[in-house]
C-alpha cells in the first residue's frame, strides 16, 4: 500500500515540478510582460544596427541593413523610432519615422515626406525591425495561459510562461499576440503575431542573448512568415548603444536633416 502511494506521489510530484507549481506565487501576467519588455527594449534612448537577412526556401536571398534610433515617450509609453536604411545602396538614406499614428516615409532623392498608414509600415523588411520596439506592457492586455515546456529556436527545451496578449490601445500594431517567456529569466523565447482577422502573420524566435545596456537581450530574432511559408527573416543586432535621441527628431520636418551621429 505504501509502495503504491509512493509511486503515485512521485509521479504526481514529477508533473508538479515540471509545471513549476513549487515556486512561490507566480508573477502576474502584466509583470511578466513588463519584465520581458525590458529584455527587448532598453529604457533609455538608444540606437542599434540591424541586419535583416531574408531566406527563401532556406537559402539567403536578400539583405537589408537598418539603423534604428528609439526613445520611449513618457506620455504615451510608446516607443518612437526612426529607421534609417543603410543598405542596399539604392535605399541608402531613406527614413521611416514611426511615432504612434504619426508615421512618415522620407526619400532623400526627392526630398519628399509621405505620410504612411500602419498597414504601409508593415510592408517590407523594415516592418520586422519594428517588432523590436513593440511595447507589449502598454499596448496589450495580458492573460497567463499556463506554464509550458517549449523548444526554442535551437531546439532546446525551455520552461516558459505562455501568455495571450490582446491589443488594448488603438496604437497596437497587432491585434493579438501569443508569447512564451522563460520562467525566472523573463527572456522572450517565442512570439506569435496575429492580424485583426485572427490570421497568424508571424512567428518570432529570440536567441543569442548577450548583456547589452545593462540587460540580457536577444541579439538575434528569427521571424517566420506565416503567410508565405517559404519566407524567413533573420534579424541580427549589433552596435547597441545609448544615444541622446532628441524629441525634435520625431518631426517630419526633421527628416531631411537626419544623419547618422
Amino acid at each position: 500500500m505504501i509502495a503504491k502511494g509512493s509511486i503515485v506521489l512521485v509521479a504526481l510530484a514529477a508533473t508538479l515540478v515540471r509545471g513549476g507549481a513549487f515556486t512561490d506565487h507566480p508573477p502576474s501576467a502584466a509583470d511578466i510582460v513588463a519584465a520581458a519588455d525590458n529584455a527587448r527594449n532598453p529604457s533609455q534612448p538608444f540606437r542599434v544596427s540591424l541586419a535583416l537577412i531574408e531566406y527563401r526556401n532556406g537559402q539567403p536571398h536578400d539583405t537589408t541593413n537598418l539603423a534604428v534610433h528609439s526613445k520611449l515617450d513618457p506620455n504615451t509609453h510608446q516607443y518612437r523610432n526612426i529607421v534609417r536604411y543603410v543598405a542596399p545602396p539604392r535605399d541608402l538614406g531613406k527614413l521611416v519615422l514611426l511615432n504612434a499614428s504619426n508615421m512618415w516615409f522620407y526619400d532623400p532623392a526627392s526630398k519628399a515626406s509621405i505620410r504612411i498608414s500602419a498597414q504601409q509600415r508593415l510592408i517590407g523588411q523594415a516592418s520586422d525591425g519594428d517588432v523590436l520596439t513593440v511595447n507589449l506592457a502598454h499596448d496589450y492586455a495580458a492573460r497567463l495561459i499556463g506554464e509550458e515546456s517549449i523548444q526554442d529556436a535551437d531546439k532546446q527545451a525551455r520552461s516558459a510562461w505562455h501568455l495571450d496578449l490582446t491589443a488594448s490601445t488603438s496604437d497596437a500594431t497587432y491585434s493579438r499576440l501569443e508569447t512564451w517567456i522563460e520562467e525566472g529569466t523573463y527572456q522572450p523565447i517565442k512570439s506569435k503575431f496575429y492580424s485583426d482577422s485572427g490570421r497568424l502573420l508571424k512567428l518570432a524566435y529570440y536567441r543569442r542573448y548577450e548583456t547589452q545596456l545593462g540587460w540580457a537581450r536577444p541579439m538575434e530574432i528569427i521571424i517566420v512568415d506565416a503567410v508565405d511559408a517559404h519566407l524567413v527573416t533573420k534579424i541580427t543586432y549589433s552596435d547597441f548603444r545609448a544615444e541622446d535621441v532628441k524629441d525634435e527628431w520625431f518631426q517630419r520636418e526633421y527628416l531631411p536633416r537626419f544623419t547618422e551621429k
Partner: protein, 465 residues
C-alpha cells in the same frame, strides 16, 4: 494493478514531452541558424556621406501625324539616350556645420541632334549649400536648396519652389520626376521643436528669366535664370495638432503671392487622407504664359492675343485632395482630385483647338499654341482646371525583386488620359533594371488625345556604387 499505476506515472511524466513535441513542428529551415554567416552593417564615416549611381536610359517615342493642332517638328524626338552620373554628397567637418552637394552630369544622344552639339552634355547642379546649427535644432543655411512641400502626389499647390525646377526625366511618374529637380538659390532659417517647426526662406532675383525651352552653349548652365528670376519669400509653420500634421505657408512673389495649407490624417490602419490648398491673386495661365513669352522673347511683343481670355488679376484657388490606401496585396493605391482655377476651361480648350486647327493656320501660331502647354509644364501646374490622378504601387509583385507601378492623369472635362506603367527589377544590391511605358489617350480634340506622342517607352539601367 501495480503495472497500471506504473503506466499512469510514466504517462504523466511523458505527457508534457508529447505536448511539447506537438507544438513544435520546426518552422525554421535548416541553414537559417548557420552561425558562420554573419552580416555586419556597412561601415561609413560619420562625417562624410555619399550616394552615387550611374544610369543609362533609352527612350523611344511614337508620334502620330494628323493631330488637331500641328506639333513643332523640332520637338518630335523619336529616340534619345541619356547616360548620367548622379551624386549626392554631405560632409560634416564639425557637429554644427555641414556642406551638401547634389549633382547629375548627363550625356545626351538623340534624334535630330548631332552627336556633338551644345545639347550633348548637360549638367544639373541640383543643390549646393552650407548649413550651420548655431543652437540645437536651429538651422541657418545658404546656397542652392531644394525646398519641397506638399502632401499630395500628382499636384502640389503648396510646393511653391517647384516652378521651373524640372530637368531631364526618365519617367513621368510624379514620384520619380521630383528626384531630379533643381534647387533655388536662397538663404533659409529653420527651427524645429518637439511639436512643430517654423522656417523662412528668401530667394533673391539674380537674373532675368530664361525662355521656357532653351539649350545652353556649354551644357553646364546652373539655370539660375530659371530658378531665381524673381525675388521670393516663403514662410512655413508646421504644428502637431489633432493628428492632422498641418503645415501653414505664406508665399510672396510679385504678382503671385499666396497662402497655403496642407494636412494629412490616418483613417484606421490602412488609409491616409490628405489635402492641399493654395490661393492668391494672380492672372490666369493663358495670360501669364503670354506675358512670360513676351518677356523672354519667345513671343514677339506685338504678337496678337493667342486666345481670348481675361487678363485681370483675381483671387484664384488650387486644391489637391485625395487618399492613399493599402490593398490586400500590400499594394498602395492613391486617388486624388486636382483643381487649378487658373487653368484652361472648356471655352479655352475650344479656342485652342479652333485656332490651331483652322485651315492655313501658320506654323508660328501653332508653335505659340504649343508653347502655352510647355509653359504649364515648366511651371509644374496642370494645364486644365479639373484633373483626376490615380496611382498604384506594388512592391514584391509576383516575385520578390519586382516592383510594379502604374498611374494615370485624367482630364475630367474630356476624359483623356496620360498613363504610365513601370516595372523595376532589382537584379542585385547594386543593379536595377527599369521599364516605363506611357501613352496619351483620348479624342483628337482632347487634352491628351491632341498630344502627338501616342506611346513612349524607356528602358533604364542603374548601377549604385
Amino acid at each position: 494493478m501495480r503495472i497500471g499505476i506504473f503506466l499512469i506515472a510514466i504517462a504523466m511524466m511523458v505527457a508534457p514531452r508529447l505536448a511539447m513535441a506537438g507544438q513544435t513542428a520546426d518552422p525554421i529551415p535548416a541553414g537559417v541558424l548557420d552561425e558562420s554567416r554573419k552580416t555586419s552593417p556597412p561601415t561609413s564615416s560619420s562625417t562624410f556621406h555619399a550616394k552615387v549611381f550611374l544610369e543609362d536610359a533609352l527612350t523611344t517615342s511614337a508620334f502620330e501625324d494628323g493631330i488637331a493642332v500641328p506639333y513643332p517638328p523640332a520637338l518630335a524626338v523619336s529616340w534619345q539616350d541619356r547616360a548620367s552620373v548622379d551624386a549626392t554628397l554631405q560632409w560634416k567637418p564639425i557637429k554644427s556645420l555641414s556642406f551638401t552637394v547634389s549633382d547629375r552630369a548627363n550625356l545626351y544622344v538623340q534624334d535630330q541632334q548631332a552627336f556633338i552639339s551644345r545639347d550633348t552634355i548637360r549638367n544639373d547642379f541640383r543643390e549646393g549649400y552650407v548649413t550651420w546649427e548655431p543652437h540645437t535644432s536651429v538651422y541657418l543655411e545658404a546656397g542652392r536648396i531644394n525646398v519641397r512641400n506638399g502632401a499630395a502626389l500628382g499636384f502640389n499647390p503648396t510646393d511653391f519652389f517647384k516652378t521651373r525646377a524640372l530637368v531631364g526625366q526618365a519617367s513621368l511618374d510624379p514620384s520619380v520626376i521630383r528626384q531630379n529637380r533643381l534647387g533655388t538659390l536662397m538663404g533659409r532659417g529653420q527651427a524645429i521643436w518637439s511639436s512643430g517647426s517654423a522656417s523662412v526662406a528668401f530667394a533673391p532675383k539674380v537674373m532675368s528669366p530664361s525662355p521656357v525651352i532653351e539649350s545652353d552653349s556649354l551644357g553646364v548652365d546652373l539655370h539660375v535664370d530659371a530658378t531665381n528670376a524673381a525675388g521670393r519669400v516663403l514662410g512655413t509653420l508646421s504644428v502637431d495638432v489633432l493628428n492632422l500634421s498641418p503645415q501653414l505657408l505664406g508665399y510672396f512673389e510679385r504678382g503671385r503671392s499666396k497662402l497655403g495649407i496642407n494636412v494629412s490624417r490616418p483613417i484606421g490602419n490602412a488609409v491616409i487622407v490628405y489635402a492641399e490648398w493654395a490661393g492668391g491673386q494672380e492672372k490666369n495661365l493663358i495670360t501669364r504664359a503670354i506675358e512670360f513669352g513676351q518677356q523672354t522673347g519667345t513671343l514677339p511683343d506685338t504678337a496678337p492675343v493667342l486666345l481670348p481670355t481675361s487678363t485681370s488679376t483675381t483671387f484664384r484657388n488650387d486644391v489637391a485632395a485625395g487618399f492613399s490606401g493599402t490593398l490586400a496585396t500590400k499594394a498602395t493605391l492613391n486617388v486624388e482630385y486636382h483643381f487649378h482655377q487658373s487653368g484652361l476651361g472648356g471655352g479655352d480648350w475650344g479656342n485652342w483647338f479652333d485656332r490651331g486647327s483652322a485651315p492655313g493656320a501658320p506654323a508660328a501660331l501653332t508653335s505659340q499654341l504649343w508653347y502655352l502647354r510647355a509653359y504649364a509644364n515648366d511651371q509644374q501646374e496642370p494645364l486644365t482646371q479639373h484633373q483626376g490622378f490615380v496611382r498604384v504601387s506594388w512592391p514584391r509583385a509576383f516575385v520578390n525583386d519586382l516592383e510594379l507601378t502604374a498611374f494615370a492623369f485624367v482630364d475630367l472635362r474630356d476624359g483623356s488620359v496620360l498613363s504610365q506603367v513601370s516595372a523595376n527589377y532589382y537584379l542585385s544590391h547594386r543593379w536595377t533594371a527599369s521599364v516605363y511605358v506611357s501613352s496619351n489617350l483620348g479624342a483628337a480634340r482632347s487634352e491628351r488625345g491632341s498630344f502627338p506622342q501616342r506611346l513612349s517607352s524607356i528602358v533604364q539601367l542603374t548601377l549604385y556604387l
